[in-house]
Amino acid sequence: MTVRTLIQILVLISTLTMLSAQEPEIVIRPPITGVTRLAVADFQSKAVATAETDSALKVFNDVLWKDLDFSAFFEMKSKSFYPNKPIRVPLDVNFEDWQSSVVNADFLVFGNVQLVGNSAVVESYLYDVKTKQQVLGKRFTAASTTLIRNVAHNFADEIVFQLSAGTSRGVARTQIAFSSQKGGAKEIQIVDYDGANPRTITANGGLNKFPEWSPDNSRLAFVTRLPNSSRWEIWVQEVTGGRAVLSTPSSYASSPAISPDGRRVALSSRSQEATDSDIYLANVDGGGMRNLTNHQGIDTSPCWSPTGQQIAFISDRSGGPQVWVMDADGSNVRRLVLEGGHCDSPDWSPDGRLVAYSWQAPTQWKHDVYVVEVATGKIFQLTVGGASNESPHWSPDGRHIVFQSTRSGSKQIFIMNADGKNVRQITAYGINESPAWSGYSKREQ
């Protein structure tokens, strides 16, 4: 074989590779690539540093960096290449240092923190390195130093909003709800998106499962079986405490989902006469309960399209549990995912294009997170490895997904980019499952 023949083979192979690469992948919009090169200098103490300032700065710098890194909008420039000189205020910046090939940043974040009594005042800046122009200059006050995380989250979201030209409001101030094992009970908990600041929503000692947020974040819907009860109930609970219990037709009720207009709840239940479950629809106060499906086979796990016009759900009417779609009045039922195996936990992306779900391939005992493009039925795998990855749920900006995984041993909650990269563990203790990412609360809208 001559070198020439070899070259011909290689050219042929490259051509084929290019042809196969033209097959469009599912595209996450805006694309998840770090196109903007961001340098984030450590914030400094404005006055002479004390132990309190140092510990507040440590938290602030850590949280801000992690928020910006996880946003998946930026190529984060490593701190080890930054100039040594600390930056407190704009006058401290030598822009040439940050443009140099060593750092090569497009934008620079810096600022200072000052403790005044119990409160912390943070001056924060975002500068365009090339034009030397200020993009953001904000002064935040945290009523106590323990709230300095929130200031970092707040500023991170502002930077994301600015540098994404308004395509994302960021996720740094969002929350995640999940079901957490407490002894023999499972209780609903919420945490900040990064796992910090855990709060208890239920403490009834029963089994509380499958939480879903109302679109304004004021309420959580979930299913509850109180201790020793022989009945599952749908609870719609205010995050601040009060709740409505929806009256369901039998002892079985599961997986409630509040509609995007906040007025209705889709759920799985069973009539007294039926042998298995159907999808039901009720008003959020429990009135007007009626079934949308009436079919032999299990129907469960409903989720709403972002317009509220359609509902995706799980049905095993064709054999194994699969992802199906119908109009919100129960008409026009069709199968969305055409593979075998077992699917569950569908969740519609905020832009309406994709549905995330878990899939267990035939003959396998592990689950993985997939997305299906609604218009084409094309599927795309997001998680790999030996562990089970289940219960995906989109972030409100559609750029991230939260899911549960057994990869660290017991079931824990993880977040990742919507392309499956940049996985982070946000719970570490006990057993935690069925996560739901909050929307944007009214305050942030």
């Binding site: 499972k186 089994l207 499958f210 599961s254 469960t300 549990p321 660290s408």
Partner: protein
């Protein structure tokens, strides 16, 4: 030259493999370049480490039938804890209130990066003291029938809720005793093994309990005497990740409603 040739061939074969896998239409499309997600886990599972320890206690250790006892446990260096006898997966330390049907030994297994440890405790169940020569009621009789195995649980195949002929034979026995003690209501719990998803298993457990209840209605037991609830994969009877455990966990379980 030979070395260059070999290198080019290796490259050619590799590229051909890439093309083949890239063109393959069969789902799922796995991107071969994706690193295993474990590498991005911020708190990687440590290998080795101190061995876990576990202690478990029952209080009181003797209860009257139908009475409650509390199991309390604590561990060190454990990442997961399972207690058998229907308690299931639990947190590293905690307590749970149980109502044992009869005398039972509860074994807790703690697993951690450093290995495995187990501890057991026993709860003895005694018959309630007869007060003033009270005669046994339907409830007591049905409890006795469950205890001595006249009324038994029935089992299911993976992902199925159909009753096997063996299950039907057992349910005919169960029906006989349920009809005999109409004053005692039963709760039929539907259970699943852990392999399905949480949502699907809750619905599947319900279908198992319903199939069981319906057959008992056909056999003349009144629907009012029976309640049913699915517990999905929440309360496994046997710990473990093998068919021996799974087959124990796919069942319709009979308890007396109190």
């Amino acid at each position: 030259m030979k070395r260059v040739f070999t290198a080019l061939m290796v490259l050619a074969v590799f590229s051909a493999l890439m093309v083949l896998s890239g063109c393959k239409k069969n789902p799922p499309p796995v991107r071969p370049t994706l690193p295993p997600p474990t590498t991005s886990t911020p708190t990687p599972t440590p290998t080795g480490g101190p061995a876990p320890t576990i202690e478990i206690q029952a209080s009181p250790s003797t209860v009257e039938r139908g009475g409650q006892a509390t199991l309390a446990w604590k561990t060190q260096n454990a990442t997961s804890v399972v207690i058998d006898g229907g308690v299931g997966n639990v947190s590293e330390s905690g307590s749970v209130v149980i109502t044992p049907r009869d005398s039972s030994t509860f074994t807790a297994i703690a697993k951690g990066p450093g290995g495995e440890a187990q501890a057991s405790t026993r709860v003895t169940v005694v018959s309630p003291k007869e007060v003033g020569g009270v005669t046994s009621t339907d409830i007591d009789n049905l409890m006795k029938a469950i205890e001595d195995g006249r009324v038994k649980d029935v089992f299911f195949a993976y992902d199925k809720s159909e009753l096997s002929s063996e299950s039907r034979t057992q349910l005919e026995q169960n029906a006989k005793w349920l009809r005999q003690y109409p004053g005692a209501a039963v709760v039929i719990e539907g259970h699943c093994d852990e392999r399905g998803t949480e949502e699907y298993n809750l619905a599947l457990g319900d279908r198992r309990a319903q199939a069981t209840k319906e057959y008992l209605v056909q056999l003349g037991v009144t629907a009012e005497q029976m309640e049913s609830i699915s517990l999905g994969e929440e309360r496994p009877f046997a710990p473990g990740q093998d068919e021996a455990a799974y087959s124990q966990n796919r069942r319709a379980h009979f308890t007396v409603k109190r």
